[in-house]
């Protein structure tokens, strides 16, 4: 399994967690399954909303974007694409900072922990680490044999397969 496949898989798990918390927030799920911590205290606090939307809904959107990028990056068309790598790093990096802020609020302001939020924060840190590894790989291949700094470099792709050659190249 490649780095981007792992990112897609972890993002899918993130989507499911964020979907669960969003459905709770809008009243579709009645009780949160929360064996550790105080999920209801955290999710009914004033910090469970950001710019008019539930924080969980922002998480859902972010995980969907990460999943879409990672899935696109596993296809041959965008394999090794630096743009995809940079977007993954930027989105997951921002999300790590945001998750860190939320964890700070849980620990020092709300004084309650939501286990699902902690799992999501850990997932995001792992995704960020993998995104950095993916970027390093993509840049390494780009230096080895690419004139492309965006889509379609010519080195081996992130899936390990040789890249298709540009038909215009002799």
């Amino acid at each position: 399994m490649t780095t981007r496949m792992t990112i897609a898989l972890l993002s899918l798990i993130g989507i499911l967690i964020a979907l669960y918390l969003t459905l709770y927030k809008v009243g579709v799920v009645g009780d949160l399954s929360c064996s550790i911590g105080s999920c209801e205290t955290v999710n009914t606090s004033q910090w469970a909303t950001f710019l008019g939307l539930p924080v969980a809904a922002w998480g859902l959107g972010t995980y969907i974007a990460l999943f879409t990028l990672a899935m696109a990056g596993t296809g041959e068309r965008y394999a090794g694409s630096l743009k995809i790598s940079w977007l993954l790093v930027a989105l997951s990096g921002w999300s790590v900072l945001f998750s860190g802020w939320l964890t700070y609020l849980e620990l020092f302001v709300i004084h309650a922990i939501c286990i699902w939020c902690v799992v999501s924060a850990v997932l995001m840190v792992v995704i960020f680490g993998l995104s950095l590894a993916d970027l390093r790989g993509a840049r390494g291949h780009g230096v080895a044999g690419s004139r492309d700094h965006g889509l379609g470099s010519t080195g081996p792709d992130a899936t390990g397969r040789p890249r298709p050659r540009d038909p215009a190249t002799p």
């Binding site: 009645g30 205290t41 296809g75 041959e76 709300i110």
Partner: protein
């Protein structure tokens, strides 16, 4: 002759199967918990009068057949959501119709720095028979006065204080009597007693409702609340019938 590039292939099938399985299992687990709304817990009914020092604010007939009690925090967003979206219906269609007695108990959460001040402001408005007007104004303006992360306690309190004074003026309170009452924290004991009752009743989050003998956490919908009121009415009728036949 140069061969054309192979057609773009997606990720391998095994990987897609794994993703599919995770998605299906995850959605199934979520679906198992969805749809039912909050699960009520059977508890002892609240007494029709005051419970010790705890004194709720009552809307509707005090002797209505069903008591709907809400334990709420003025700074909690879910409480504001219930107060602005659902409560008007509860008052008009259930309390004004004489079916329920709606009771508000303060349950200020420790992490909300302006909650006690909001409760004091509403309690002092109650002295002038304008609790519900102040209650509605405070919840409607929650975004403006709620404390913000990083804001000092003093700054958050001053901003809320200024806004509550404006609300007092808007709803036509005697401002000087109201502000003296708030400054003296005249009703702090009542607020603490209301909260204490919630703690005894194992209220863990806000809002929490006690409808008849069922306790439900969360900002429930009007339909869910009406269903529980109907159940309480039916139970009451059954009990009355069986008492009459004995």
């Amino acid at each position: 002759m140069v061969k054309p590039p192979p057609k773009s292939r997606g990720p391998n099938k095994l990987f897609l199967v794994i993703l599919g399985i995770i998605a299906v299992v995850g959605v199934a687990l979520i679906a198992m918990q969805a749809g039912g709304g909050p699960t009520p817990k059977i508890v002892a009914e609240l007494p029709p009068g005051d419970a010790g020092k705890a004194q709720p604010y009552v809307y509707g007939r005090p002797d209505a057949p069903v008591i709907v009690a809400e334990f709420a925090d003025f700074e909690c967003p879910a409480c504001a959501q219930f107060a602005t979206l659902t409560e008007p219906d509860v008052r008009k269609r259930l309390a004004d119709a004489g079916q329920v007695s709606f009771r508000f108990y303060d349950f200020p959460l420790e992490q909300h720095r302006n909650s006690v001040l909001a409760s004091l402001s509403a309690a002092c408005a109650a002295d002038q028979n304008k609790f519900w007007e102040m209650h509605d104004r405070i919840f409607a303006g929650q975004d403006a006065w709620a404390s913000k992360p990083g804001e000092s306690d003093g700054s958050a309190n001053r901003r809320a204080s200024r806004l509550f004074s404006e609300y007092a003026k808007q709803i036509g309170l005697n401002e000087s009597a109201w502000s003296t009452c708030v400054e003296e924290q005249r009703h702090l004991e009542r607020i603490q007693a209301n909260r204490q009752l919630g703690i005894q009743r194992q209220v863990r989050s806000t809002p929490t409702f006690v409808i008849g003998n069922q306790m439900v956490p969360g900002a429930i919908s009007y339909d869910a609340l009406k269903r529980l009121v109907d159940e309480a009415l039916a139970r009451r009728d059954t009990t009355a019938r069986s008492a009459a036949t004995q």
